[in-house]
């Protein structure tokens, strides 16, 4: 990207399009982000404002050397704080309770998130039920209620779509999408995995490319798998149980590699796993695990058939660290 865009952004003179380019560059890699953070820190520390109005300390100073007044000031601040808090609560309440009022004025977007370590159930305005797996977010906007049934998924979710032939239901993700004709299915599309998996349980769904063109239809019991690095789509018959068992708190691994399992466990429990042992990544595990058990029990189960040993290190303000050794 043109370096001058960074400077323009820092100086606050970048156009809307340039800002967009800037954020694209920023999101490209952690390296870009860190580089910019360093630049911005220097920028902020070397920044001076021209005090044209000539504001002086005496304009803003609290009354001093007069203890009585000071107490008055303190209680004033305290009362003001309560008052501001009440306004704040009012504003939040207004947002939650009366938010729908301006629904038709502009397309407002809603986002539901299941944080790492949690699952979330939601019912969309049309009655469609969605269960979000850990570390997943689902977005849709206010046009949803007026018939444009479109959601954007980052992560994994199970959909039970309300039938409505006139208004097809569309799920979009970073890679592929799905158009639905009243049905239930599972989609896994965590952006960091650079993969997309759709598994159809019943009904019928069409597989869409990024631009919304239908690539293929799926039959019940079929799974479509897309990998960004090979850019290929593979459709095959599967045991659907395996792909949807997570919603019942069960998870089935059929000969999965340990590094894949580690990634899953990181999401369910919001922990960070570091695999230290040579060769453990490539070991495979076969079995069903109960997800809602404490993590050490899960790890003990894995230990039975693999060479896994583990150590749990709790950390303040950060996800717990687990070494696999």
């Amino acid at each position: 990207m043109d370096n001058n865009i960074i400077i323009k952004y820092l100086q606050g003179t970048a156009s809307e399009a340039e800002i967009e380019t800037f954020f694209q560059w920023l999101d490209e890699s952690e390296k870009h982000r860190n580089e910019f953070i360093e630049l911005k820190k220097i920028w902020a520390l070397t920044s001076k404002f021209e005090n044209k109005e000539g504001v002086s300390w005496s304009d803003i100073q609290p009354e001093f050397s007069k203890p009585v007044k000071k107490r008055f000031l303190y209680s004033f601040i305290k009362n003001a704080a309560v008052f501001i808090l009440l306004i704040g609560i009012g504003a939040i309440a207004q947002y939650f309770f009366f938010g729908e009022k301006d629904e038709h004025v502009y397309a407002r977007s809603f986002a539901v998130t299941a944080p790492a370590g949690q699952m979330t159930n939601i019912e969309l305005p049309d009655g469609t039920l969605v269960m979000l797996n850990s570390g997943t977010s689902l977005q849709y906007n206010s046009e949803f209620s007026s018939g444009k049934r479109e959601v954007y998924l980052e992560g994994e979710a199970f959909f039970d779509v309300q039938k409505d032939v006139e208004h097809p239901f569309t799920v979009k993700s970073d890679y592929l999408g799905v158009r639905v004709y009243g049905t239930s299915f599972n989609i896994q599309a965590y952006p960091e995995d650079r993969e997309f998996t759709a598994t159809l349980i019943e009904g019928s769904i069409g597989l869409l490319d990024k631009n919304g063109y239908e690539l293929s239809k799926l039959e019940p019991g079929e799974k479509a798998f897309f990998n960004d690095s090979t850019a290929s789509i593979e459709i095959r018959k599967v045991d659907t149980e395996m792909y949807t068992s997570w919603k019942d708190g069960l998870v089935t691994f059929r000969n999965e590699k340990m590094d894949y399992i580690a990634k899953q466990i990181e999401r369910w429990y919001n922990v960070e796993i570091i695999i230290q042992k040579e060769g453990l990544c490539d070991e495979r595990y076969f079995g069903t695990i109960l997800k809602n058990k404490p993590i050490d029990q899960i790890l003990d189960v894995l230990k039975l058939t693999t060479s896994l040993e583990y150590e749990i290190v709790p950390r303040a303000n950060k996800p717990t660290l687990i070494y696999w050794k």
């Binding site: 910019f36 630049l39 911005k40």
Partner: protein, 197 residues
């Protein structure tokens, strides 16, 4: 004009702690511009930024007994400004204009990430300032002149271009170059202070 006026009169810490009005006046005058400047980088609304900066001075005044060195004053002010900016940005996120504007949300998150990575308590500000000054002196001359005019004299790119008789593009690329060199210089000097990410 440079980042710090080298002959800046340092106020007497004891009188400052006692609540001496004059000592505080000096501190305000020496630091107000840069604290507002700092806030403006995260809160583009000038009135808000000034308000937040002023709050930081009030906070300093109310907590003056906790300050132990003269250099700690600046660190205190920056820390207070950082905290106030973060609070402001956290609330800003809930305003309705943010709900539909993904760029604004991204910017809000980015600014919070940057603010959180500042650790002013860990440094004597005076020292940091000296280092920035030193790094500035290492810049190629044209580069330094452009950077100082832009950052410390508050001149617009157009004005600098006219003044030096160069193209706007060249002003922009000199600023880019300056900030990249500063980044490199300062990273070597302060590995655990400024760059704690």
């Amino acid at each position: 004009m440079s980042l710090a006026d080298s002959n800046m009169v340092l106020p007497d810490l004891t009188s400052f702690k006692k609540g001496d009005e004059h000592a505080f006046k000096i501190i305000f005058e020496d630091n107000y511009d840069r604290i507002v400047g700092f806030c403006l980088q995260f809160i583009p609304d000038r009135e808000e930024a000034k308000n937040i900066a002023q709050q930081s001075f009030v906070k300093l005044w109310l907590n003056r007994e906790e300050v132990n060195t003269i250099n700690g004053i600046c660190a205190f002010l920056y820390t207070a400004a950082k905290t106030e900016c973060l609070n402001f940005l956290r609330h800003e996120k809930y305003k309705s204009e943010y709900q539909k504007n993904t760029l604004k949300i991204k910017e809000n998150l980015l600014n919070r990430q940057i603010l959180e990575s500042f650790h002013f308590n860990k440094l004597e500000y005076q020292e940091l300032e000296g280092m920035i000054q030193l790094a500035l002196e290492k810049l190629p001359e044209r580069c330094r002149i452009v950077f100082e005019k832009s950052r410390f004299e508050g001149k617009k790119n157009r004005e600098i271009a006219d003044e030096l008789g160069i193209a706007i593009k060249s002003v922009e690329s000199n600023i880019t170059r300056a900030i990249k060199i500063l980044r490199k210089e300062l990273r070597d000097i302060l590995p655990f202070v400024l760059w704690m990410l």
